[in-house]
Symmetry: C2
Subunit: 498 residues, 2 copies
């Protein structure tokens, strides 16, 4: 197996992955906020990290994969004061207990992750379930002099932190403190408590109406939204772990502030590698509800949207995601989905054809070429999880498979061992690494129906040859009753379900 | 609709349900401990409360149904000192982080609840997610003088509580303090910290090896296992709510101590109605791993157990559970499961036949009788959720349905309106109230296969009548290839899948 390289957002470079503990990976990925249905863009991010998780597992690593559930503290507009907690707002609108809303959308999120066939992480901690850990982290940050209290809220002192640790603050997002200041000028509203506009809240005093709040040494309130990830990654993966992932949009301010919090509390940056999955666009533009350029996973699966010509299956969408690198933007268009549907079917078909092939050769003249392409598939996956290139290798192999089937290439030109390797490679890539499900054959009944229809059409053909039109018509009628329509053509009879 | 009556364990009487808020039900049910696969006995308890939840919803109540996940604090042997926390022990054996174990078995529990087609509760709070609430409750109990600290652990003072509130402590379990004392004599080990053997820990100082612990005013430790339910029911349902449920085995000490904690902290008992689901036995005896008298849900579904002659489907098992009242013990035997399988199929078949029936009569002489039985079905459900009696009503109606089908009763003897009511009643009871799924027709393919086989066997019978053995044999061979075996009997040919 090739050593795994990955692009570290911190250095902007591709680096060879070196785990902190041999054979183990500790990985934290920012999960969903459960106040509404999961967005398709989030599905792309989680699918990207699902493939990264799967590839680490496949290459033999023992992985502890932590992905949080944000059920409190994510503020409106990503500004951390003044705005109301999203969870509580939605809850009051629906006259529900906030945790009832959170539970409903957590279930919906889990269902959607199953539909996309993503593996569950090892631990799925909830922000509300880790209030003591977050309060403790605030205390540590204050003890280290990087936070101050104002009227029951606590703010992280970015100016002090940036001055003392210029090698840390701003490094991930590539911003310098002057940028951060001007960046935040627009958000001056309700920020009079802060010493500096770029400071951010790590504990927020809850207003009277606020539904989700807890006692703390400073006020009855709730944690700032950057804090949970720092506290929960530390709890389950330690002060230093291997990989922290999330969507590109979280790089700043969320991840930059996470680093500041972790270092501010324990003197260590949280992880060695930061990985970011890029955005999902639609028709070349950012998805946005306000201008109608948006689509939900449900709409994709039902076809109920002006943006697509038909329904697409979950595995078509997953395949579509595999066709671009996780660090590239992915542009969802109807044409691209149609192409993905074709590609997915072609891949599954090649897999099935492959399994019918048998070779008696000990070795063959194509062995070297096939092994070269097979190696390339793994090399591409190990090179920053390059799924589009790995897919391209598989399609190179699929062409060979179709040529064997059509007889354009002799099956004798591939050796037994190479053919076996090829079979294992397709099986492993399709199901274990890419995490696809075979949607093209739904259970055994479909095959049985195929077998029975073959028999019936043969009997009917015999009857027609013998000019026994009565039997032929009886069969047609009985098939109609069973929901099957027969059409006679030049090359014999074909059948479809009515 | 009939007013709902339920047996209140607190009074031992059947009482008419009166909600605290008109039209709403607040219900808390003790959930699973997620340190191993969920037991079949637990499945029975959760299915019982699922039907209760469904019936409240069906009758128009808005229900907030809270069922907790115990991921910490449930001690071995149900004794609350000395023993190690089950979660942590299992975690060390598997060299896993406790929350990784908890997550794994929580997923498994959710899968099993889906297999049994139980609805998710409205909120599913975790014990580890509510440490501040539990610490606060300990503080309140101490402030009210009903708890004392010893070496970092905090104990509930049962003697004082029983003396001051003899009308409360012991009422649910029907025990008096003298009983409680002698009851606990066996558990004197490691109890030297307690003032009295019947006292119980509400906060436990964690040992060095203990993996799951949190800071508190008394020690770094963890909550006693009765505490989470008191704290979480209060948080999500208020200091007083309608119904608290659980298995019979939780009545004492768990529920008795919950009442003491709730009253001890806020001066109010938690709920108006206590409901308990009885035990699942096997072959007349308590299930027990040590003597081999045990079976898992998986074994039931695969048939892989010496205790059963074949595999049973999830809906057969659910139907089996419906056949006894939730307050009665339920004895699992192979014969009972075979009977349940038959009963389930008969009910589903009656439902299908019913939907083919049409009446042109405005009214008929059977209307009164049928409406009487239909009313009885609802009356039985409203009478303490009596599923076996409601099922009996449905089977009375099924007999009528079969008689209509066979022509023993004229369909004209039932009026249009009554027939429509009957159809709605079957639909509602089977799917909404009993929560059954139709396993008897799995999609369209099964029907298509049936239709095609009918046709093929007719053709084959013709061939045999004409002594055309070649065609007959060809058909048989082709069917074998398609995975179908034909057996000729006195009453014609039958077929099975190979």
């Amino acid at each position: 197996m090739f050593p795994i390289k990955l692009t570290n957002s911190l250095s902007g470079q591709k680096e060879t992955f070196k785990p902190l503990v041999a054979g183990r990976v500790g990985m934290y990925v920012c999960g969903p906020t459960v106040y509404s249905d999961v967005h398709l863009g989030n599905c792309r991010t989680f699918t990207s990290f699902d493939i990264i998780y799967r590839y680490f597992l496949y290459t033999g690593y023992k992985v502890r994969y932590v992905r949080n559930i944000t059920d409190v503290g994510h503020l409106e507009g990503d500004a951390d004061t003044g705005a109301e907690d999203k969870m509580a707002k939605r809850a009051r609108l629906e006259q529900l207990e906030p945790m009832e809303v959170a539970h409903k959308y957590t279930l919906g999120f889990h269902d959607m992750m199953k539909i996309f066939n993503t593996l569950s992480p090892s631990i799925e901690p909830r922000a509300t379930g880790h209030i003591p850990e977050q309060i403790e982290m605030v205390q540590e940050i204050m003890a280290n002099g990087f936070a101050y209290e104002k009227n029951g809220s606590v703010y992280f002192n970015t100016v002090k932190f940036a001055k003392e640790h210029p090698e840390i603050y701003g490094k991930l997002s590539g911003r310098i403190i002057e940028d951060l200041i001007s960046e935040s000028r627009d958000n001056l509203k309700n920020q009079d408590e802060k010493n500096h506009p770029s400071d951010f809240a790590i504990w927020i005093k809850g207003s009277e109406e606020h539904l989700m709040k807890w006692k703390s040494p400073w006020s009855t309130g709730f944690p700032g939204w950057h804090l949970e990830c720092s506290a929960m990654s530390t709890k389950y993966l330690g002060e230093k772990f291997d990989i922290h992932g999330g969507g590109f949009d979280l790089k700043f301010p969320h991840h930059e502030n996470e680093i500041a919090q972790n270092f501010g509390s324990c003197g260590s940056t949280p992880c060695n590698y930061w990985m970011h999955a890029n955005m999902l666009l639609m028709n070349g533009r950012k998805m946005s509800k306000s201008d109608g350029n948006t689509i939900t996973p449900q709409q994709l699966f039902t076809g109920d949207s002006v943006h697509i010509s038909k329904a697409y299956s979950p595995m078509t969408v997953r395949f579509f995601m595999l066709q671009s690198h996780y660090r590239s933007t992915l542009d969802l268009t109807d044409d691209a989905l149609l192409a993905a549907e074709k590609g997915y079917r072609r891949l599954m078909e090649a897999y099935k054809v492959l399994n019918t092939l048998e070779s008696n050769s000990a070795a063959g003249e194509l062995d070297e070429e096939i092994n070269f392409i097979a190696d390339a598939a793994f090399a591409n996956m190990s090179d920053d999880f390059n799924t589009p290139k790995a897919l391209a290798s598989l399609f190179d192999l699929a062409s060979k498979i179709y040529s064997f089937q059509a007889g354009h290439l002799s099956i004798a030109s591939v050796g037994k061992t190479t053919l076996e390797r090829l079979k294992k490679l397709f099986q492993d890539f399709i199901f274990d690494i890419f995490g696809l499900i075979d949607e093209t054959s739904s259970g055994g009944d479909q095959e049985v129906v195929g077998g029975l229809m073959e028999l019936i059409l043969k009997i009917r053909a015999n009857a027609r040859t013998n000019k026994d039109w009565t039997t032929s018509d009886q069969i047609r009628d009985a098939l109609n009753e069973a929901g099957i329509q027969v059409k006679d053509g030049k090359e014999g009879a074909a059948w479809t379900r009515i």
